[in-house]
């Protein structure tokens, strides 16, 4: 399929359309809402499912194959918040807290964008390394630590790192991802096969329901778009594209396949909307949530979902000469 064809197929997939339905329902002031418990249950399910599948793959992968990609991932996790912070401070004239908060979000990762990327690649028939979920778990925390560190360098504050680090490393998404990876790795492919009807077969359908809810939530953020300002709007689209390109290049350097490099690009380009907001709200309460939540959830997430996925894949094809 050529580039336009892929972009079209992505936009017309049930997953992107369900997200659009959620947006439309909120914008039309429909009373549609999904129970909170369904949203929570689906996010537990999705995280555990990608952990399990990734773990089963890990069990048949030589661990050293992971080394290069892991280092590339860590480099992204440390680098992205550094330049984001600098750009937001210098060019965007944001205060310390807001700049650091945004840096934490864009350096960390959105699991649901990652999951959508797997769906996209599966549909396009592109193979990728099975261990990619391990990289998600690896990329979640470092950027947040780096960004909070930058804020503390600029404005020293009392209170230790203990609580923040503990909350990051034992946060729900890392525990489920890492736990799922371990379970999948230890019980291996036959173990995961026994639970595949739930954790593999239903995966795409569950993603459709989840994205419907994400659409409902995202649209509620739209009313804050005006407050975000043109600089941050541009930032929330341009930086992900640059990060995507960087992800592709690093992926190639680290020896990933074309599909794997596309996934790494998506990890780099995506911005957190669960782990980072929670950590930042506690550790940087003076940062303005309407800036970071709106940029991450109402701009970058829909952009990546609708346009980013095929774009990063095209970038990867260009870089890989495919």
């Amino acid at each position: 399929m050529d580039a336009l064809e892929l972009a079209r197929a992505n936009l017309l997939s049930p997953m992107v359309l369900a997200f659009a339905l959620g947006l439309a329902a909120t914008l039309l002031k429909s009373d549609l809402k999904l129970p909170d418990a369904l949203y929570d249950a689906l996010s537990v399910y999705l995280l555990l499912a990608i952990g399990l599948k990734g773990g089963a793959e890990l069990s048949v992968t030589p661990l050293r194959a992971l080394l290069g990609p892991a280092l590339a991932t860590l480099a992204l996790g440390v680098g992205i918040p550094l330049w984001c912070y600098a750009i937001l401070r210098r060019l965007g004239r944001f205060g310390v807290a807001d700049a650091a908060a945004l840096a934490a979000h864009y350096g960390s990762v959105s699991a649901v964008t990652f999951i959508a990327c797997l769906g996209f690649l599966d549909k396009a028939g592109v193979a990728y390394e099975g261990f990619m979920p391990a990289l998600v778990a690896l990329l979640e925390a470092p950027a947040i630590v780096v960004a909070l560190g930058l804020a503390r360098l600029a404005v020293p504050r009392e209170g230790g790192w203990g609580e923040v680090l503990h909350e990051l490393l034992t946060g729900k998404s890392i525990v489920l991802l890492a736990g799922g990876l371990l379970i999948g790795w230890v019980s291996g492919k036959p173990g995961v096969a026994a639970v595949a009807p739930l954790f593999v077969d239903l995966f795409k359908g569950a993603l459709v329901l989840f994205l419907l809810e994400m659409g409902l939530i995202t649209a509620r953020r739209f009313r804050d778009l005006a407050r975000v300002g043109p600089f941050l709007l541009a930032f929330a689209v341009v930086l992900p594209v640059l990060h995507g390109l960087l992800g592709v290049v690093l992926g190639r350097v680290a020896g990933l396949s074309l599909g794997g490099a596309t996934v790494l690009a998506v990890l780099a380009a995506s911005s957190s909307y669960i782990a980072a907001p929670a950590a930042v709200r506690i550790a940087l309460p003076e940062a303005n949530p309407s800036l970071y939540l709106t940029a991450s959830l109402a701009v970058t997430f829909p952009f990546n979902l609708a346009l980013g996925l095929p774009l990063y894949y095209q970038l990867a094809r260009a870089v890989y000469g495919g």
Binding site: D224, R281, I282, E286, P289, S290, L293
Partner: protein, 100 residues
């Protein structure tokens, strides 16, 4: 029925603060608390519409001194940056001496 007049302190806060507020309660001498999930808005304020998330409502029956300390703690630690509301009433508690 003999009852004891106590203060009921109610704190409404964004859910992310729950653990910290409970630590404060324990530290300042509250002997118990009850939590209900809530949602809310400060219709003209700025804060609550920005940080969208669930709220919790924490209620605790305490002596007037503990109530005073709790309100001071709220003012000192949370009012500046967080969406927090606190108020108190006098209520008549059965077996109230347990709590004061």
């Amino acid at each position: 029925m003999r009852t004891v007049p106590l203060k009921r302190v109610t704190i409404i806060a964004e859910a992310v603060l729950e653990e910290r507020l409970l630590d404060d309660l324990r530290e300042l001498g509250a002997r118990g608390y009850t939590i209900t999930e809530a949602r809310g808005e400060a219709t003209r304020g700025v804060r609550a519409s920005e940080w969208e998330g669930k709220s919790v409502k924490i209620e605790t029956l305490v002596s007037p001194e503990v109530a005073e300390r709790l309100l001071e703690r709220l003012a000192a630690r949370y009012f500046e940056h967080y969406a927090v509301v606190g108020y108190l009433e006098t209520v008549e508690v059965v077996r109230g001496s347990r709590f004061a």
